[in-house]
Every structure is written in C-alpha cells, then in structure tokens.
Symmetry: D2
Subunit: 379 residues, 4 copies
C-alpha cells in the first residue's frame, strides 16, 4: 500500500531554483547520531552545501565514517561521506567549515556549541540548550526568520565577528507554529491555543521508546514537552523589540497556550489536534481560515531557499486527513498538512495538523535556516 | 510482560455482596455479534441473571449457539450457552425472559427494541438508536441512574405496564462522564469541557478498522463521534425536569463541550485528554480535584450492584499513567482511571482519563443498569 | 527515522537506458483498485508506456478518475489520469491500447481477461486466474522470461494473431523464486525447499485484514498461499518442453517444496526464511552461495528493461538483515534482499529473503514482463 | 475484543488439589527485574510457597520493595511484598528460605547462583548460565522432570548436602519441546526438526527491543537463539546415562535440529512453525499426531503440581489457530497450543505451536520444577 514516498535526492535533480550560489563548506557535529545521520542524508544532496567535516565523540574520532556509525536510515550511507575520517568536537577539529550543523545530544551540545560560536563558527543547532537564551533566535524557517535580526546584537554582546548560534524549535512546536503564524498573519493575534499531540516514536531518538511501552498502547506523557510547546510558541510567534535586541514573547497580545502531549505507536509524523481563539471579533470562518492557510507563503519560499517546500501548508478537505502514514512525506517532509478545519464550540476554530518530526520538525529546519542566512549574507 | 489481567469469572467467586437476589431470566438480542458475545461472557458468570434466550438474525436461528457464532473472545464460549438454540428477534422468540440485553447493530436495533418494549420487555440497549429519544434515559450507571425516574412516564406515554427501554452511552462519552460527574458533585457545575480522544480499534466493532488504515498511523476522525460526545454529555450530566417527564440537558448551567476524536492503533481502552472550567470561582486546586475523584462513590456501588466497580475512579500519581495497555483491566474494566491532574493554562484543570470501551464503555454498563433496576424493583 | 525512500518518479529522470523506444499505449483494467492504483503510479512515470485507457466496473464508468477512485497511495494521483474518464471492462472499451495491465480481482479477472485476449489484446495480469493454465506463462521477469516462448503456441491454439495472456506470480512465490533461480543457475537443480513466510498485510488488499485480527498478533494461515507457493515454484523454475508447447514443471529433477505462510503486522514486504538442498554433492558453501547471488544478472536487465532493478539481489552481511521496514525500498522495490546465508543442520543452506510484495511482488513484475515483450517484439 | 484473560490469583481460590502441603519459604533473587516481578505475582498467590526474602542489587537493598521496583505488571504489586525490605544477593541475605527462585540477569546469575548452591540453597533459575553445565538439569517440567535424578550426583560432586541448581530452558525451546516430547513418547524418536520462530518482544526483557526497530517490521535474528534451540532440545529430549550421572543428549538416536528465529511486533507469545521427521516408517498420520498430542499427560500433572496446566497441549482444528493474542492465556499460560497439524511435503508432519514465553516459557516453569521437587521430597 505504501508506495515509494518522494526522495530527498530529487532536490538535486530538479530545477527548483536557478540562481547560482557559491559553494559553502559545512560541518556536522554529532555526525554519528540519529539527527546527524539525517543532516548527512540531506546535505549530501544539497545544491551548494558541501560537507567538509564530520565531528563526533572521541570514541568515533579517527575512524572512517562508515565504521564509526551505526547507520539507521533506509537509504544507504551517501558515498561522499563513506570514507571521510570522523573528527572530535573541539573547535580546532572543524577546519574551514563556515557553518556547523549540530545534531548533538543536549548533554554535550551546550559546551560544544558555545565553544564553536566563540571560535567564530555559525552554528545551526537542533539541540534545545540555547532555545531559551535571550540572545539566540529560536527560528522556524517558515515562520520567524525575521528573528535573525537579533544576530548582530548576539555577536556584539559576545564580542564576536562571525560566530553566532541559531536554534530550531522542538518538533511538535514547529509543526503547530506554521499554521498559527499563517492565521496571525491573516487575522491578527491569537489569544488562546489548546493543543493535544499524538507524537511519533522517532521523536524520542534511538533507542528511545522501548517497544514494550508503546505497542498496543499510548503513553500520555512526554517529559518537558508540554512546557516546551507552551513557552516556545510565545517566543516564535512573538516579535523583536524595536531595537532588535530582545524577544517580545507575544507580550503585546498575551497568548495562553495549553498543551497535552502523548506518545503513540507511529514511526514518523506528529499529529496535533488544536483549537484556537482569535482576538478579533467576530473570528474568521472555517472557510476563511482554510483560504488563509492555503494562501500562506513565507519569506524563505520567496527567497528560493532550496530546501523550503513549494507549498508550506496543504489543507485537506477529506474528513479523515491528514494521517501520519499517508501525509508525512508531503513536500518531502518540509511542509505541514492541515485538515478538519471547523468551528469549535468552545474557542473559535479547531483543526488537525501533521508535521514530519524528522524533517521540518528537525534537520530540515536547521538547513533552511542556514539557506536563509546564506541568501541574506548573514553567513 | 502482560500478565493475566483479572478475570470476570472472579465476580462469581468473590463475596462482593451478601444479599440474596432472586434469579432473573434474561435474553441477549444480537447474541452472535461482538457486543452480544461480551454480554454472554459477563452474564454467564453473573450471580443472579440467567440467560434464558439467545436471539439473533434469521440466518442464525435454529442453530446451536456454538455453530451460529464466530467466537472472537479470548475465553472459551461459556458452557451454559454452547448448545443453546439461537432464536430470531421477533417478540415471540424471547420467551419468559424479563430483561433483554440488546447488542444489536443500529440498523436493526430501532425496530426490534421498539417491538420488544411494546411486548412489555425491559430492554437494556447498547445501541445508539434511542439515545436521543425524549422518553428514554441515557444512563451511565456510575453517573445518572437517577434518570430511571422517567421510566414511569415512558411507560405511561406508551400505555405500557412493564415495557421500557434504557440505553447506555457511547463508549468515549461514558468514560469522560464519570470523572466529570464526580467533579460536578464536589464542586458544582462545569461550564466548559474540551476533550481530545485516542480511541481503540475495538470501538469500531468487527471487522471494523482495516489494518492498512491504522498500523503505523492515527486517523483523526471517527464518524459522528464528536457530535455524540458533545450532545450525550449534556443529557447524562443534566438532571430531570421537576415532574420527571423530561431531560433538563444541563440547561440551568449551560455547558459547552468541544470534542476531537481520533482512532489509534490500540486494541482496547480509550484515552481522553480533557480540560475543564468550573462555574465556581476560584476553581478547585488539582489536589482538591484528585481528592474528590478518589472519594467519589456512586449509588450503584452503595446498592451493591454486583457488576459495579469497588472503586469507580482510580487516580494515578505517576506522571505517565493511565495507559491503555497497563490500566484497562482496572476493576475488571468497570472503573475508570484518571491521571495527570494539573492546572490548565487556559481553562482550570486538565487531566487524562482511560475507559475500557468494551467493558464499562459497553456491555458492563447495560448490565449494571439492569442490576440497578432489579435492586430498585423497576424490573 | 524512516527517511524518504527512493521514488518511482526517479525512473523517468535518471538516464537508466539510452535506447529510444517507441511509445506504447496501455490500458489499466481494474484501475480504481489497489493494484490498479499502483499500476497507474508506475506507468505515469514510465519512459515509453502511455496510459490511454482506464477501465473499471460499470459503477465507476463515466466518471473522472479522480472522482471514481478512493486513492490510497502516499503520492498524489498522477496528473495525467486525474481527469481521464473511466470506462467499463468490455473489450470495446479499451480503444487503441496495445497492452492491458490487469489489476482486476480474481472474481472478475477470468472472464474479462479471456475476452480481452480474444479481442487480440496483450494482457499482463496480476490476477491468479490463469496461473495454472497450461498455455499461459507464469513469469517472474527476473527468472523465466524464457517462458514467453510458449506465446506463439498459445496464440495458435486459440487461433489468435496478437492476443495472449501473461501472468505474474503470487507475491511470496516471486520473492523466493529469484534467489532460487540464481542458485540453480550457478549450482544446478534444487532438490528440496522449505520456507516459512512472514507476510505483510498489504498482500491481502484493501480492506483486507481487520486490524483486530493482526495488531499484537500473528495469523499462522493465509488461504491457499502454501499451495500456491508449492505449485507455482515448480512451474516458474521448470523449463519448457522441447517444442515449446508445454511447461516441464521441474519434472526432470523433481523438487519438493514445503511452505508455511504467516501474516504479520507489517505494512509492506514479505520476509521468508528458507532452507534448501541441492542435488549436487557436495553442495556449495555459504560463501559460494553469496557470491552466486551477488553475481546473478537476468535477461531483463541485459535487455535494459527500464523497470528492472540495476541489481537483482542484494546480499546483506549484517546478521540482522534484511528487514521489511529498512530494506523494502531497495532498488525501488524491484529487487530482492537476501541475508543470513548460512549452513543448515538439516538441509544444505538456509537464508532469509525479503520481497516488496507490492512492487516486484505485483505490478512491477507485470510491467517488466511487458517491457520484455516490447524489447523482444512479442507485442 | 480482548476480554479479561484468566487470572493467576484463581490458583488460590480454586480447589485444584486437595493434598495439604507444608508451607515452604522461598526467596526471589533479582526481585526487582522483569522476571523477578513475575515470580512475585505467581508466588504471592501460591498455595504453599511463601515469599520470605526479596533479594536484588546493592542499589535496591534497604528499600521497601514498592520503592525499589519499577513495577511493570498489569496487576498491582501484591500486598504481601509491598513493604518487604529488599536485601542484597549475598548468601547470608537469604535467611531461612529453602528455595531461591532466580530471575537474575545472566551477567550476575553465574556467581550468585553458584554461591547460593554452595550455601546449601536449592536454586531454581530462569537464567541461562548453567544450562550447559554437565551436572545441572535443564528441565521443562512437562517434559523431563526425570532429569532431577542427576541431583544426587550434582550434590555429591560438589560435596553438598542440600544445595543444587535446576535451570529451566529458553522460552522458545520450552514451547517446542512439549509437543516434540509428546510425539516421541507416542511414536518413538524424532530424526529431524526444522523450526522457524516468530518471537514476542517480551522475550527480550525491558527495555529490550527499541520500538523503532520493531514497529511495522520483523527482525530476522535473535542473538544466540538458534544455537540455544538446536542444542537445548537435544539435552531436554535426551535421557540420562544408566548411572544417572550424565546427560545422554539424544545420542542413541541422533537428532538434527535447524532453527530460524525472528522477532515480531507481538507483546507476548512465541509462535513456531515446525516440521519433523520420525525414525519410525511409516510415520504417524496427522490424525494420529493430533490424538497423541491431546492425550499427552505429564508426570507433574499426575503429581498434582498446583501450577501445572490441567491440559498440557491444546490442539486446534480451526485453520488459523493458534494465534498469540487469542491463545496465549490458554491454561493461564502454563500449557501450549498446537494447530495446523498436516503432512509436510519434505519431512513427515508440520504444525504450528504457541508458547506463552513469560509464563511456561519462564517463571512458571521454575515454579512447577520447584513444586515437583517438593512433591518428590528433593527439597
């Protein structure tokens, strides 16, 4: 039934954009881990990023990548990295890379990313360590690349010339922030958001969730996930201060968010049942909401970032979509799917949203963020 | 890992109650279907209900039960029905049964249940056909057996002496109504209820959900389920008119309910993430809510109805419970489990609730309803 | 974790072959069914087959394809068929197609395919109806395209000029026949084959296996599957009579086959644990077997059939491969994966084989068979 | 669909045997682990075993059991152990227990069990460490309790009065050995056994198999499992030397065994597809095989061991049984289910066998072994 979902390697074969970019050397920190492997798959087919360095723990250093990694992707290890020698994660190990993509675990990410920034690398991190840092943008590329405007202040505060850190958001936050942003753009501020998530096991990494805990089961708890969603959404959907030195945290229009997060026996794709209330009265109708979601077009798309989706939000009319297994490969996992847009008897509008947690919910966001930085000459 | 959940047959071996009840002859309509099979398992171990008639379609009639049924339960066919001859579903086929338990499909249930009532049978139905009937109580036995008070009016309106129909509620409604009722009893009316369900495949019957639709997937839609939850809760949680001739529909304290219903790859047990707002300000604290849920004791328990749970609501303190696979056999499936009681940033209190959809969410409710009727001499 | 498996549309973008073929018009019978949908996905990206007719039941006839179909593929409906009008399955409804691909259910396939052949169409069928017909080749394209040699006799016997029927094999048979054929080619006849299959739910079609039957379960039985494997393997692996008018059924070297077939909760990909004994003594070593499997190269590959895999058999050295989820997209599902080649304490060699039941195990085989026929001017 | 499987606590309420046994104090080593938890559930309801000591690692020692354990069973922690203080696993920590049940992990089991034996405890171990020891019986209680006859030799060799070790077998070996023994008892020695297993995830313990490895997947490899099955079966099915000082290893009638072991997404219950050849020609017919399996009655049953199944082997006539989910609770998990008994085109007879790997495949076997030892005054 499940037929060949679209391939990332298509990115390199299709004439998605014409502008000829200079080649940019990039490193992958945490290259042997799950997120690192995904960075490698995506970057090995990238039109202008070239992997110049693979960095991991001292245990892996010195080995050929193919010997250091326990490869868990359903596509073979890209040839370009097969025999590359893995190096450690000290700043001096990253050579002439301009950008470091960090797929490090959070227990290592803090120190290493800080040291890399200090050594003047541009760090695009999937780790959570700096998400709450008042100098570090938390960027969902389809939502708030405008937050890159704080980068000069970040550099200045730390007395750096080129070094900075950009983080992307938690996977479930990322997915919901995209339609919410589209709605705010069209209809003004949201007042209230309630969301219940049904999250895939791949969100917990590997080995992650024991099969005995999740087969024929749902676990109604994911450590710190609800707090992340409730807090990160305010940072992402909020603006910057006028002098572009602080995050406004949606404080002009206080936004209440309540999340309930569950783990379900699904491999990839987080499904989220959301309900929202707009400040504007009367609120938009379901049809207006659907029209606005379909019309949404983000800056990274306008700029032709090659990993950005052609269409950011697909709105289903079928009553039973989106579904993780059928819709997670939409736009190669770089867009989100929305369905069941209808009136909510309590708030204004309820809908269902699906995000591919391992694509736009993780490595793909870091890569689009970096593409944006390149396009805007921030890197 | 999964060890021997408790057995229904224990019900008959344990001294759950002392009063000696007269034996009551009961029939099972739709005896060969999934719900009918469950009625038979439960009734065959019942202390005073005796199965005197098995009724099904004309296709099954005339056969021994063991030859007519495609048995799908993990316990063997009870010996007492093995060779019983299946009869049709015309009123004259039900013999001297006093009570008819109906596990009929909704396409057949309407006409047959009506005819049985007219023939002066007491019908306890798991089908949905009469749930919205203004004369028929929709009874969750742990919540609103008080609605039996409309039965005299039902009989009088139809010029009947003994015949009446009682329905039990939709499985997901049943599960949520129990803690909601406990909260209203302790803290007064609820104003707002938001709930997202993750429902087991057994809720769709057999063959029900195709495996290709649900393996590695979630389906964010169950036909008419949201409407049922939103409407049924107002009937169940509301009272009766003063003259006990009409349902009040929670109209004195209008209650807004918003439900989002999902099908997940779980065999048995519906998990529900709920959030509620009380009329009373300030609302109760999470600790007060937990205390009230634990203290809840319903009338059917006080009356010693043998199929009622010893404890109606179990409140978990562990952060990751209840879970369908671990908790669905609590109280042999006749109680509900609640966990994660905490403040809601939007409404007042949020929590997770688990209901065994094939036990208290279905046949067990009908049986406790009938036990209540026997205890109160309504039958 | 599961990343973008390779896409069939790549077939059209990659320079897999250079020869310029004439365009061939093809029809899909049973176009709205599961197999029909897969034919359409594959054919819509085909280098020289052009879909000229979509045929289905009278119920669908007259509608636009997009309105007639309940699309169940994880890629959108190909644009080329979106608005094509569906026609019935009478011979006069197939227009100027030269080839008809049949994804019909077996209850309809017999009469329709026979009528199409009589109407001088070349029919490539995935249905089982004609597999045991003494005039009809049962062709696994990587194994026995040589059986096309009986086509002249088939036509002559029925007094036809162009009409003939080719069937492909049962999905689990197909998968095993490929390594078995490679072994016979390298080491001579096999005497004994024992195989236990673990088959995906997609093999049963849609709605197919109820989820209540297979979640947290294995069903050790698939109707008629063991008989099919035991019989079909002798037809496929056997030769033709000298005058190319009959199937030899491996009768020169009688071959005993014993199959045990199980359904497991896997979406796509049949895994088979096989053990074999060779006639030749001493038998080949595991290393020789692996070398032979890797070296295997079939005629359809030599001819450059565009849907044939680059590599027919991938041999894993890891102890725990192949696995359905990780390896079913190998070669876009057109090759098979073998692993755990080792000595058998009872027979000679045991190994594990994985076949993508919905690709080479079904529609892909029909298409390669048709490509072979085009290449050999049989069509 | 899945209704309340039978409960172990029934064991204590039902008059399964009349003989009045003396109470026997028992300890559980590895009490906080998965197997230890199962020992506790079973022993807490045992008619004459009384838990007098819970022993675990130094980390758990000193704590109340309820605080030391991460309980993973679907029944609550038995009250009798809730507040028992956990002790270490040094011999002096086991007090006046006569029997030690060992659920220790294999990395700790070797030294501890050896020390306990030396300290004159009777050790019944579920660990694999001593299974190949030439002095230690490997006992499947329904098959070879006769191997207890080597215990005097074990004691004498080690100069011990009461101390000895008995192990039970690997879970998949246990399941297959029961019908194989029944067949040998009825029809004489088996010459050849081929078996492919589909094993539940609970066989790998907790956390065990990562969900990302097994959801929508089969893993065709379980480390050392095939070697265990192939070797253990010869020890279990073989006899003792005439002087009862050595295991005969089925050497009088050499037996070839070939196993292929797979992990499937099933919680509990190993399914095994077996095919066998008898020495006796002609071999028994399928009907004779079914009759013999049904008639099989073992010594532990005759002795009235309270945890032994009433019926050891249930033979299904339905074509699609046994199935793990429907049949794993047969006889409370202490018996095995066999189905699909039919002729094998290669060997003589093939059939399917289901064993509850966490009951008779693990702790239940140790307990029945101990019951046998008590009944025979070996302990």
């Amino acid at each position: 039934m499940q037929l060949h979902p679209p391939s990332p390697s298509l990115l390199s074969t299709l004439p998605l954009f014409i502008m000829s970019h200079r080649e940019v050397k990039v490193a992958v920190a945490g290259a042997t881990g799950t997120v690192g492997q995904r960075f490698i798959v995506l970057l090995s087919a990238h039109p202008y990023f070239r992997i110049s360095s693979l960095n991991a723990s001292a245990r892996s250093a010195g080995k050929a990548y193919k010997d250091a990694v326990k490869w868990k992707q359903p596509v073979p290890i890209p040839k370009v990295v097969l025999d590359m020698t893995v190096k450690q994660c000290r700043p001096e190990d990253f050579g002439d890379a301009e950008i470091v993509f960090s797929g490090l675990d959070s227990d290592a990410a803090g120190d290493i990313e800080e040291a890399l920034r200090k050594a003047e690398y541009a760090v695009f991190s999937n780790a959570g360590n700096f998400r709450r840092d008042p100098l570090v943008p938390l960027v969902v590329p389809l939502v708030n690349p405008s937050h890159f405007a704080i980068v000069p202040h970040q550099k200045a505060s730390l007395d750096l010339k080129k070094g900075f850190i950009i983080t992307n958001a938690n996977c479930s936050t990322t997915g919901l922030s995209i339609p919410l942003h589209a709605l705010e753009k069209a209809f003004g501020p949201l007042e209230t958001i309630m969301v219940t998530t049904m999250q895939a096991i791949s969100g917990a990494g590997y080995p992650g969730v024991p099969s005995l805990d999740i087969l024929d089961n749902v676990v109604p708890y994911i450590g710190k996930e609800e707090e992340k969603m409730e807090w990160e959404l305010t940072k992402i959907l909020g603006g910057l201060s006028d002098d572009q030195s602080a995050f406004e945290m949606h404080s002009k229009y206080p936004m209440k968010v309540s999340a309930a997060c569950n783990r379900v026996p699904v491999l990839d794709g987080h499904l989220e049942c959301a309900s929202v209330r707009f400040a504007r009265r009367p609120p938009p109708s379901p049809q207006q909401v659907k029209d606005a979601l379909r019309a949404f077009y983000s800056e990274v798309q306008k700029l032709g970032c090659p990993s950005a989706p052609e269409q950011a939000i697909f709105v289903h009319e079928e009553p039973d979509r989106p579904q993780p297994r059928l819709d997670r490969y939409f736009q190669n996992g770089s867009g989100v799917s929305v369905g069941r847009v209808r009136e909510c008897p309590v708030l204004d509008i309820k809908f269902v949203c699906l995000v591919n947690n391992v694509s736009i919910g993780a490595a793909t966001s870091s890569i689009i963020n970096a593409e944006y930085a390149v396009a805007k000459n921030i890197v």
